[in-house]
């Protein structure tokens, strides 16, 4: 019975071994398909980086081309053995094992390779995990430092604000009344000092429109502006007047009313107006002259045409009369007796 069991167990073990073997063969073939430079990490130093000088760059380039050529030659050389990915991988694993064993030999002086391997694996795992956690803690510490050192801004933090604070519902009924009273007080206080935008009601007219009837002519305004300037220069009250006027002017300008207080600008605009008037007067004169000319020309032409027509009519009549007397042998109208006696 035991033997049978052993046999069953043995055959079970055998099947497991064969399946494992099949699997490993499959993976080996897969790995061999991948070229080594893609599968295994490249351990050569990166000799090229953007900060190299021209000469250094040229040297690096030459080296890489040489390496390429050499590698190609070796690959296609039948004498040299081609190392497949699998072989390189195995080499790498052996190297690592040796390294670990050396490390362990230094620390523990343990000869048993298997045990040391396990221990190193375990320790490696432990050291990995320790360093991993340590790293994570360090990272968090750094983040906090950076957060603190930045200087608190009043910018609303989005993730903090998103948590809605729902007050305890039972207590709400008591506090609602208190809050109502508070709100009323605040509102009353605030309402004392509120100013709103303009609202038009039909009753009051805006002051701007009312005073439009009293618009002075520009010359009058100029006089006023000059008077104002003179008043400003007055030694006694000049400052006062100047300040008051500037504030008044600024306020009314801000409200949209036009204030004419600069004599220079007023002079300019008066000058412009004069020029415009002159120009218009000239244009009018020209127009009138032109009309006259046209009229005169037309009249002349007309009278000329009339005179011509009269002339032509006369000539036609003469010609008609003369035609009757154009008999053969005669030269037209009698001009008197041939022998007149003179």
């Amino acid at each position: 019975m035991a033997k049978k069991k052993e046999k069953v167990v043995d055959s079970g073990l055998d099947t497991i071994k064969s399946t494992v073997h099949h699997h490993s063969e499959f993976f080996d073939t897969l790995v061999e398909l991948i070229p080594a430079r893609f599968y295994l990490p490249d351990e050569t130093e990166r000799k090229w980086f953007p900060g190299l000088s021209k000469a250094q760059k040229a040297r690096a380039k030459r080296k890489t081309t040489e390496n390429l050529k050499k590698a190609r030659r070796d690959r296609l050389d039948p004498e040299k053995s081609a190392l497949t990915t699998l072989d390189l991988l195995k080499q790498k694993i052996e190297k690592e094992k040796k390294k670990l064993s050396n490390v362990v030999a230094e620390d523990d002086d343990d000869d048993d390779d298997d045990e040391s391997e396990e221990e190193t694996d375990g320790r490696k795992a432990k050291s990995d995990s320790v360093t991993y956690e340590e790293l994570r803690q360090r990272l968090h510490r750094k983040i906090d430092e950076l957060k603190g050192g930045r200087g608190g801004s009043e910018r609303p933090r989005s993730h903090e604000k998103r948590k809605k604070i729902v007050p305890n519902k039972r207590k709400r009924e008591k506090t609602v009344e208190e809050e109502e009273d508070k709100a009323k007080l605040d509102v009353e206080e605030a309402a004392k000092d509120l100013t709103y935008g303009y609202v038009k009601i039909d009753d009051d007219e805006e002051h701007g429109k009312g005073s439009k009837k009293r618009r002075l002519s520009k010359s009058r305004e100029l006089e006023r502006a000059l008077k104002l300037e003179a008043a400003k220069k007055d030694p006694e009250k000049g400052e006062v007047i100047a300040k008051k006027h500037s504030w008044q002017a600024a306020t009314s300008r801000a409200a949209g009313i036009k204030v004419h207080d600069d004599p220079k600008l007023l002079k300019q605009s008066i000058h412009k107006e004069k020029k415009r008037q002159e120009k218009n007067a000239e244009k009018w004169k020209e127009r009138v002259e032109g009309q006259q000319k046209v009229r005169v020309e037309k009249q002349q032409k007309r009278s000329g045409n009339i005179a011509e027509r009269i002339e032509q009519n006369k000539q036609r009549k003469i010609a008609k009369r003369e035609k009757k007397l154009m008999r053969p042998g005669f030269e037209g109208r009698k001009e008197g007796v041939i022998n007149d006696g003179k």
Binding site: L194, Y198, E239, T251, R253
Partner: protein
């Protein structure tokens, strides 16, 4: 549109978008007043976040502003002035970033006073939208000009009075008889703090919600979402279940209004509705620093640093005891009394 004068220096390269679309009326058809229009621009190069702030300000001033105003390096203030005449632009908002400070200048064309504000802090509209759970932007939010509310400015100090008048005139006036409630959708709030002399600038969108209706019913009517009736025996349970009001309903007893007419489907006239404000748009903390008589020129009639100068002058007076400094000090004292 009017023809622009070609400056001798160079052509005007300002291309406001109003040229291509329907020309906006200069004069409001209803009230007969001139509608104030504005340009928001900067003459210097701006860093990216300040450019976004400029864009936010432009959106704020919609619809009476040039949304895609293109300015070139060689455009001077003169060019903008020349264009603003025929186009009926009344206000300039200029941003300027120097090494020390970011400043906003609000000026009235053509000769008007210039108020210079120093911006201490600002937040962009996109930041504010990110910080909110449900940012709200209905499609026609920027089709109508905003309302403006100024708080804490008072009527005593001249420069503050000037600032209120300036801001009141940037936005067109509302005509009570003809205004539609649905056009009042935005609000600009300016709050002056006497102690720190800082002005808070906020921009909200207005929303009306009926009061006294349980939350479930309100949501159902507004959104037409089919409610979850799994746990209820009967539809009457859904309608009559005593639900908690919204969190802030108790606080806003004062913020309810009685509408004169219906607004939308939900808010019925002659019933109470709550006014809810949700912040959009940029947020700024600024300080009025300078007031100049002309457009970025002219005499300075108010200067925040004057108070500092007075102190320096007085110190000199104490140290040297010269007559000249004494006179200066007395003059400035006189000015202080006047202001």
């Amino acid at each position: 549109m009017g023809r622009f004068k070609n400056n001798k220096k160079g052509r005007v390269n300002v291309k406001p978008i109003a040229m291509k679309k329907n020309n906006q009326a200069n004069v409001d058809h209803v009230t007969g007043d001139k509608i104030p229009k504005s340009f928001v621009f900067s003459r210097t190069k701006l860093p990216a976040s300040v450019k976004q702030l400029q864009m936010d300000l432009r959106k704020l001033m919609l619809p009476y502003t040039a949304l895609s105003l293109k300015e070139k390096k060689r455009n001077t203030l003169r060019d903008f002035l020349n264009v603003s005449g025929p186009m009926g632009v009344t206000h300039f908002l200029m941003l300027k970033k120097t090494a020390s400070a970011l400043s906003l200048r609000v000026a009235r064309t053509p000769q008007g006073p210039t108020l210079t504000f120093k911006i201490h802090q600002y937040s962009l509209a996109s930041d504010i939208a990110q910080s909110q759970l449900r940012p709200r932007c209905p499609p026609d939010l920027f089709k109508n000009p905003p309302l403006i509310v100024l708080s804490g400015f008072g009527t005593q100090e001249l420069h503050l009075k000037l600032a209120t008048i300036m801001f009141q005139n940037i936005f067109p006036a509302i005509d009570i008889n003809t205004v539609k409630l649905s056009t009042c959708q935005r609000l600009v709030l300016l709050n002056y703090n006497k102690d720190t002399k800082l002005i808070d600038f906020r921009h909200y969108s207005i929303r009306l919600q009926p009061v006294g209706v349980s939350r479930r019913l309100r949501k159902f009517v507004e959104k037409h979402e089919v409610p979850d009736l799994r746990n209820l025996q009967d539809v009457s349970d859904f309608v009559t279940k005593a639900g908690y009001g919204s969190e802030s309903e108790g606080d806003e007893e004062a913020a309810t209004v009685t509408l004169s007419s219906d607004l939308g489907r939900v808010n019925r006239g002659s019933t109470k509705s709550a006014v809810k404000l949700q912040e959009i748009g940029p947020r700024m903390t600024m300080q009025l620093v300078k007031v100049e008589e002309g457009l970025c020129s002219g005499g300075i009639i108010f200067d925040e640093s004057e108070n500092g100068d007075e102190k320096i002058a007085k110190k000199k007076q104490n140290e040297d005891g010269e007559e000249e400094e004494g006179e200066e000090g007395s003059e400035e004292e006189m000015d202080e009394d006047l202001e």
